[in-house]
Assembly symmetry: D3
Homo-oligomer: 249 residues x 6
């Protein structure tokens, strides 16, 4: 019910410093969710993430969510290419879909979310000024939403990115090719380019593009890559008990 | 120290919920005030509404106010027609006057109001993100400020609209024509179009236009139409002891 | 004198006009295209409309295009409902999809299009100030893109709306039910509500909702409803040789 | 073909320069009109100014119009004071009325006007980028619309301001007090503060406030103050055959 | 009751007030800092002011900061003049530098600051709606940042401006010329124009220009001019134990 | 002189197709100028570039200019680091300086430039809609202005970037170390990362960062890197007779 949730929210925000979750706290956490997870074909997952995000927010975390474009973006991009639009225009269409997914998730989270969906870094700063949960999609052609996650985390001084995708983590070799590929628990950012040459994702941009990697390194932002098809995995990712932790520095 | 100040601050904001008014609470209430009531010719009423709105806000209600254009809008619209502007342009001028009235009331309410006056639905969402009282006028040509009230209530999930106008409620017949016209205490939204064919208001749009009616029906938003020439009637309208209640569903 | 300068201006833009279409010219035309026609699943149609719009623009017409949401909007709206969002939020998601379709078509048309996609009536006025072709989607919850078309036409003083949808026009009875239903060549706006009670479209809003009808009547905007699955039908609709003409006044 | 249409278009736009009005041209002219002249109580004057502005624009002048608040502004300001708002808030309300008057005039002028009404200096620069006629009202509390006229002229590099008000020019003494007051044909900006201590205008700000004077001096902007109750006087003011010319440098 | 909640709200935020500074409190204070003090050549001073502002904010004061352009502005303005740009353009460049200095200080203050830097009065009102500390630079050509300080204070109802510059206060005569010039502890706003004809500042605008003076007079805003090269002087200025107090009314 | 330049402009735009420069034309060219070249310490160069850009524009080219931050950016970034701001904040300050340089150049170019300076990709698209010359600085933290140049070129469909910096081109080895380093006339984009590991530029970002390289490759955008300390070198760069040409595909 609305009013009770609201008052709890208020109450909880106050608590944090007193009753931590047993998880190290650092002000804010950025949750990057693949568009393969958050999209209109998966209403249960959208609802599940909305609940998890409200829950985490109530536990003293300031949460920023970056959502990808997913299959609907791919439809628009594929049409874009077949009619001869340029790469930047294809990217812009994909970005709009990611913003659409962000709006869907934002509405599902409810009243404590900043609206409208931020469309640039200054919008993100303005949203941050209100104290609300922020949900956004892409920002600019030529960069993945993983890069957006890194940039936004850096701008807001957030040191931890939880990266929910549809693989269990980063492997030492491409698991689709090598049966004996081994999931890594930790990998240093310096090793990423070599490991990621496997390019796990089908859609244009790899898991972590060079821009994302350079930013997490220069600002020492930890990234946990994990399988987020089940929204509750976010709790485990927060604790560090699933996925692969990318050591940035 | 900063963090302690912050938690206390949050705690206090929450207090109201502990000391309710004895009125059922549902998060938010939308107050629609006719431009015949809020305009610069009636400073006492403007001041009175400002006080009432501050008072209600302090009683745990989140308040959104939609103000109409009134006589000043009619001056601009009349000029607009006499120089041959089109209907949409006349409407735009009327909308600007309603925003002017909204600004007048907003300044009178004071510090807890969101400024500048929202000019579109996304602005309303942005304003809502700050937690402030919102005051706005019209939004778009072709719709009454009653429709604006319905749309904004729906967008923000508000289920109760108090509609302050210069008649005592909705009558079974036009009270200006029939001496024995009877004020209705309750009327269903389905019956409205028939009853309202009397068109109580002089200015372009009837009391509740078809768009407003269709929205309150589809989202089950209760509307209380009451005589708001005395700002204190708002308390009675909140309690349901004056005017006509429109049962939406 | 103003109007003559104006027409000269238009004339010149139109010099290309050296090859007029043999169609009466009146400054501007608004093309409303259903989202069932313009969407990423139909790249050939998108490309076809882009060509037709460029062609018409070169023939002295100032063109404004309003695009609907179509099947992708329905996916988001269906998800929205299944997770319990309200009607306004569902509408907002649908509006964003219509803007996405508008962006796709705008990129396909190319350089002479105003960008970014206008999101409100003031944006439309700003876009109009540049002299470019305007493409937009929805504007506000609670109204169909047909209503958007009517409002935008009225704001810009456009008197002719070409309404491309997936039916051949307006029938005297529901053609899906009655084998002997007859397509009307002309219908008056006053008769529309009765005729349209058949509600040809599946998606939430009927072909012409009450708001759209009231605007075309008050500003005498002619609407031609026609089957637009083939982009070249636009030329015929301009000539009035296909579809149903709605006589507004 | 596109490029040929484009070049022709440009060529024509330039034609006016070939058919000047017999008036010296300097790129642009700023017309400042008192709110006592442009307001909804005077539809004929609004229509008259719209015609004159279209005419001048067609004669190669780029025109920028700054409109004042007038009697409607005074109503809002008077209410503002009686309910205890501060001076800046009163000014803001007056500024909104001046924008409303600007919108009324802009709609009357028609298609070649930039919309929406600019609300700040950057908006004015953006409007200027489109090549359209610009109409605006006030910009900021604490300054008269005469100061706005001076600032906007300076920003856009305009060297001539035509100042339409309800007096015939600047007098050597207050003409309402001294029967033998003499209208000056020319006055230097340096002498203005002394002469204007008579303060001809009733509404808060004098004819030319210190800010306006300092700007016309520093950028050498000529101002012609004239009686503009008859819109056709603008032609005479352009020629310099009516009113008082303020020599700025 | 509203006003009591309000005062409680203020009280809490104000906990500080339990630990007052021994200073009278009135809701908000505006700190105007010369660009000679806040600029990238003086990182220690920037850091110092950031700390002082955070400290004051925690002591119940709502703080708004207006920063000037300083030496970097002078570089751009000097270039602007040498290439022949007009005065308004020079001013605009100087305003952008003051916004840059404002951004530098805002980032130094940290999370409780509103971002992005407000660029107009409506932006300032929007920023005020969030409850955050506001930092801004200039607003409009033709006015000093001292005038900006006065306007913003007036808009927000702030009655006290602390004016940090590089002189110890206002002198009865120009201290650079007269060895026996005496610093004034108090000066009335009416006397300012005479005293300030000495023009202490090198950069275009004097310490308090006529616009600033007229606003502090009309809204009775007290200004304390003090030497702010040491950030801790702000505390003394708050107490009134340094600099010159300008009695506005 | 203004009016003659203006009419010439109009005239010239028309000419192009008739009197080409003897240079292949492709609609638009993007000129990227290092902040080491365009900054307030070099008024003659600013004026020179303004002239060259006006000249090129008159020769049928649509010109977009991206300006870097240069030494003033470095001052702000250095201060930012010394007070402990994060990398994104340092970048934001540098971006604001690049926008300041862009504004300086834009004012110098004059009337045909779009203002205000675009702050995001959608702003760039809006500016493009007006047909004006566009001047901008940086867009987002984490990317060089070279990347901005590549992104903007891609968005607008521009295939040629002229990159004015303070080195004569790209060398096979670092010319500051190896006396026998040889300037390359052509280099393929694939070879760039290896060659550029020498990192010619001192300021944070190398000559062409990985993001810039990946975009010029994917959209086949040719880049000519040349010494732009003399504005007239732009003509030679257009002809391809100076600097190093980066073959993108």
């Amino acid at each position: 019910m609305y009013s009770s949730r609201k008052s709890q929210f208020r109450f909880i925000i106050a608590l944090p410093t007193i009753l931590p979750l047993g998880i190290s706290m650092g002000g804010g956490v950025l949750l990057k969710i693949s568009g393969k997870i958050i999209n209109p074909d998966k209403p249960d997952i959208v609802r599940g993430y909305a609940e998890v995000i409200r829950e985490i927010t109530s536990k003293a975390y300031r949460v920023v969510v970056v959502v990808g474009g997913g299959p609907y973006a791919r439809s628009y991009i594929s049409c874009s290419r077949s009619i001869g639009l340029n790469q930047a225009q294809s990217d812009m269409l994909g970005i709009e879909v990611s913003r659409l997914n962000a709006l869907l998730l934002a509405y599902a989270i409810g009243d404590d979310v900043y609206l409208p969906i931020p469309r640039g870094v200054e919008d993100v700063e303005r949203a941050w000024s209100t104290g609300r949960t922020i949900v956004l999609g892409g920002l600019q052609p030529g960069q993945s939403t993983a890069a957006v996650a890194a940039i936004v985390a850096e701008v807001l001084g957030i040191r931890k990115v939880l990266y929910a995708t549809d693989v269990d983590g980063i492997y030492d070799r491409d698991p689709r090719v090598y049966g004996d590929a081994r999931k890594l628990n930790v990998v240093s950012a310096d090793e990423l380019p070599r490991v990621l040459s496997q390019r796990f994702e089908a859609g244009g941009y790899e898991l972590l593009d060079p821009l994302a990697i350079s930013i997490i390194k220069r600002s020492c932002i930890e990234v946990v890559v994990f399988n987020g098809m089940n929204p509750h995995s976010v709790y485990k990712a927060l604790e560090g008990s699933v996925g692969t932790r990318v050591k940035p520095c």
